[in-house]
């Protein structure tokens, strides 16, 4: 089976005044198989978000290769990149800020559909279906982001991300800004959507909370100072951490 996402030797060096200054991500390798949920865990500044930004091409990689569904997108631009975005979508950390304050949630959810040629009427119907799928009433399409709660907004963001049926869903700390009960609801929603989609949806789940990763992911990578220091099945990593940093990470939770 071919991986949905293949990351080889991915590196990001931030430079200052033309000189290499800070290595945020160094030689990261991993694969994501269809239907799999891979967690990436690490403290703030460990390079999780940099990895995600490089995968989504919001940031240029300094080295390495990103292969999405068999296609090398490491330097993709313009229409090639827009094509790649049909296969990969993202849910952001800050739900309210991920929607344009001047546009309704429905506009935001339907944007990708409209961009890929769906008529306004069809897009509207699809938006209602997506909202209901994510546990929101269909009339939320007419609301503005500041009129709904953070949890509701994150549900809408998930609806938006799944609108064009991507193969890869990236959740960048998607539950971190929500309180615990809402966090649980959003995770349940993600879990349900994942079960429904089966092998058609792979999830890259970026998180700093090891308990959530244990609950939600099939496999976990531990990122520390831009390098993968440990990987495996969450239960095993937690029970039997081999790396010092992983140990301290687990100790801090327990």
């Amino acid at each position: 089976m071919e991986p949905v996402l293949k990351i080889e030797d991915l590196t990001k060096v931030f430079s200052r005044g033309g000189q290499p200054d800070f290595t945020a991500v160094s030689h990261v390798n991993f694969e994501l198989m269809p239907g799999e949920c891979l967690g990436i865990i690490g403290e703030s500044g460990s390079g999780k978000t940099t990895v995600v930004n490089m995968i989504t091409r919001l940031l240029d990689a300094s080295g390495g290769r990103i292969t999405l569904d068999g296609e090398d997108i490491t330097t993709a631009k313009g229409s090639r990149l827009r094509k790649a975005y049909r296969k990969m979508q993202m849910v952001f950390q800050t739900p309210t800020e991920s929607f344009d304050p001047r546009r309704t949630l429905g506009d935001g959810i339907g944007e990708s559909l409209r961009n890929h040629g769906m008529s306004a009427a069809d897009a509207k119907k699809e938006v209602s279906r997506l909202l209901e799928m994510c546990g929101l009433p269909a009339d939320f399409a007419g609301r503005y982001p500041h009129q709904v709660s953070g949890g509701q907004c994150q549900r809408a963001a998930i609806a938006r991300a799944l609108a064009i049926r991507p193969k890869l869903l990236i959740c960048d700390e998607a539950t971190s800004s929500l309180d615990v009960t809402i966090q649980k609801e959003v995770l349940e929603l993600l879990g349900r959507l994942r079960r429904q989609a089966g092998a058609d949806l792979s999830i890259l789940f970026i998180c700093h909370d090891i308990a959530l990763v244990q609950e939600f992911c099939d496999r976990v990578l531990v990122l520390y100072h831009g390098e993968i220091v440990e990987q495996g099945i969450p239960d095993e990593v937690i029970r039997n951490p081999r790396n010092e940093y992983t140990k301290s990470l687990i100790d801090s939770v327990l």
């Binding site: 989504t56 919001l58 975005y85 991920s98 344009d100 944007e111 961009n115 500041h146 009129q147």
Partner: protein
């Protein structure tokens, strides 16, 4: 910051709406007056009557007459056309030009950005009216050239605002989301960036209407703007400043006209800003 209660928000929103209606109506009346100014004048604004020169305001001449005996009320009404529309045209030109340059620089970055911003620095550091004088002098007199001259020196302020706003927006999650949704750069600029930066830009241009009116008048005074006998508020004031002690109505009537229109546009600008704030639309 503490969020105001729903009731306070509603009252605030209603008062903003009220202000918008009032100042909007006043501005529209002013514009309509300017458009139909030719039909609103009680006398021919260019008809001289030297026997009746410098007459004080009376029932026949509500604002008196100037040194050639022309009816001031008619001249102020006719002058509104030249003054208001050349100012609005000027402000529209610099707003569009400055915003376009600013958004381009902010979005694109790189060397083009550096070059354009250094050029705008030069314009900002140079005394504007002196440069406008030079431009208008080279191009020759006339209202069109005065507008070109002022546009050449006034765009950097807008470019600055638009650029900094665009830079701030570029990092927001919703622009990243728009890119992930497959929106092209043009679409992102027109659908997401422009609507979100229009507030501050629009308020600046509304507040600039007054300044531009005065600068156009200044150029007219120096013989580089509207030429006599064309009635234009600025040149009417400049021409007659020597009469301030003997026939003050001749200088004051166009002055008050400038004051009132500038006031209306300023208040309208403030109100539009308050109204455009999306947090005001909370339901």
């Amino acid at each position: 910051m503490k969020e105001p209660t729903v009731r306070v928000q509603k009252i605030r929103r209603d008062s903003v709406k009220m202000r918008l209606i009032i100042f909007g109506t006043l501005a529209v009346l002013l514009l309509l007056g300017a458009i139909f100014s030719k039909y609103l004048t009680p006398y021919d604004p260019y008809l001289q009557d030297l026997r009746n020169a410098k007459a004080a305001p009376s029932a026949a001449h509500l604002l008196g007459t100037d040194r050639y005996g022309r009816d001031m009320l008619s001249r102020v009404i006719v002058g509104s056309w030249t003054s208001i529309f050349s100012t609005l045209l000027l402000v529209a030109v610099i707003t569009a030009l400055g915003t376009a340059i600013g958004v381009f620089c902010g979005w694109h970055g790189g060397r083009t950005d550096t070059v354009l911003m250094r050029i705008s620095d030069i314009f900002l550091a140079f005394p504007g009216l002196v440069f406008a004088l030079a431009v208008a002098g080279v191009l020759g007199g006339g209202l069109h050239n005065a507008i070109i001259a002022l546009a050449a020196i006034s765009w950097p302020k807008y470019a600055r605002i638009a650029r900094s706003q665009t830079l701030a927006l570029k990092e927001t999650a919703y622009l990243k989301a728009a890119r992930l949704a497959g929106s092209s750069t043009v679409k992102i600029i027109f659908k997401h960036i422009l609507p979100n930066i229009m507030g501050p830009v629009l308020v600046t241009s509304m507040l600039d209407i007054g300044t531009m009116m005065m600068e156009l008048a200044g150029l007219s005074f120096l013989g580089l703007g509207a030429k006599p006998p064309i009635a234009e508020w600025g040149s009417m004031m400049s021409d007659t400043r020597s009469l301030l002690s003997t026939a003050p109505w001749v200088t004051l009537s166009p002055g008050i006209a400038v004051f009132v229109s500038v006031m209306i546009f300023n208040l309208l600008g403030d109100t539009i800003r308050d109204y455009a704030d999306p947090k005001n639309r909370r339901r």
